[in-house]
């Protein structure tokens, strides 16, 4: 039987893990996993509005691999479909820190440069312990520039891993 692998969002000083494998992720101006219209990102008159960081991480659920999980990766389709003036940034970080509002793109890379052929590594592994997070966090943040329009655009993110 294949392992259960969750993709979750972590929030707060306690690093609360919320399973987002089948649910939406809302970039906003607050540190929580709630998908609502509170604390929305706004289109600024000038400059950029940066979201709070989203700390995403993979986790082995209640069913582990027969042997091991390795080669954790993150990537996109390489095309920003979020619309004009809406950017998505990403980086890999080992140690968790309470999500904060980003103030610049320093340290981040345009998420759409990570593609299936050039993915962001989130850890080589091996990992095998059930109910345990694995690998680096994929820390993401959204930037809304003054040229953006209103709406709730979406994109598809891919988290990949090998299993034996």
């Amino acid at each position: 039987m294949a392992a259960t692998v969750l993709i979750g969002e972590k929030n707060g000083a306690g690093a609360t893990f919320t399973d987002k494998t089948s649910g939406p992720i809302r970039f906003k101006n607050a540190d929580n996993a709630t998908v609502d219209l509170a604390n929305p990102m706004v289109v600024p008159g000038a400059g950029s509005d940066f979201s709070f960081e989203k700390w995403l991480r993979m986790k082995i659920g209640g069913t582990g691999p027969a042997s091991q999980i390795t080669n954790l990766k993150f990537y996109t389709d390489g095309v920003n479909s979020l619309g004009t003036g809406v950017l998505l940034w990403a980086k890999a970080t080992t140690n968790y820190a309470t999500p904060a509002e980003a103030t610049s793109t320093t340290g981040y890379t345009n998420a759409f440069t990570y593609t299936s052929g050039s993915a962001l590594s989130l850890g080589a592994g091996p990992y095998s312990t059930i109910n345990t997070e694995m690998g680096d966090h994929c820390v993401m943040m959204c930037e809304v520039q003054s040229t953006a329009g209103p709406g709730t655009p979406s994109e598809t993110l891919t988290f990949a891993y090998d299993e034996i």
């Binding site: 939406p24 052929g117 979406s154 891919t158 988290f159 299993e163 034996i164």
Partner: protein
């Protein structure tokens, strides 16, 4: 797709599922059969897809079974 992985006593590895069997002989130091998974998730939660490929590796050459009878053989590291 669900794949089962079986290892014989002599180290021969088999990946089975979707009506195919992919076998890798243990005649190299780098021989393996594994599943490559990709979870594609929409930020809006409307889209979710879990893709699994069966991969056989022998001496740096990978054979990917992508389903529907499609195989890819390459030295490249390919993701779904």
């Amino acid at each position: 797709m669900e794949f089962e992985r079986v290892v014989d006593e002599d180290g021969t590895k088999h990946g089975m599922g979707d009506g195919i069997i992919l076998t890798v002989m243990p005649d190299a130091s780098d021989s393996e059969i594994f599943r490559r998974n990709a979870v594609k998730m929409g930020l809006d939660g409307q889209q979710r897809d879990h893709i699994t490929w069966l991969v056989g590796r022998l001496n740096g050459v990978n054979v990917y079974y992508m389903g529907e009878g499609r195989f890819l053989m390459t030295t490249q590291d390919v993701n779904p």
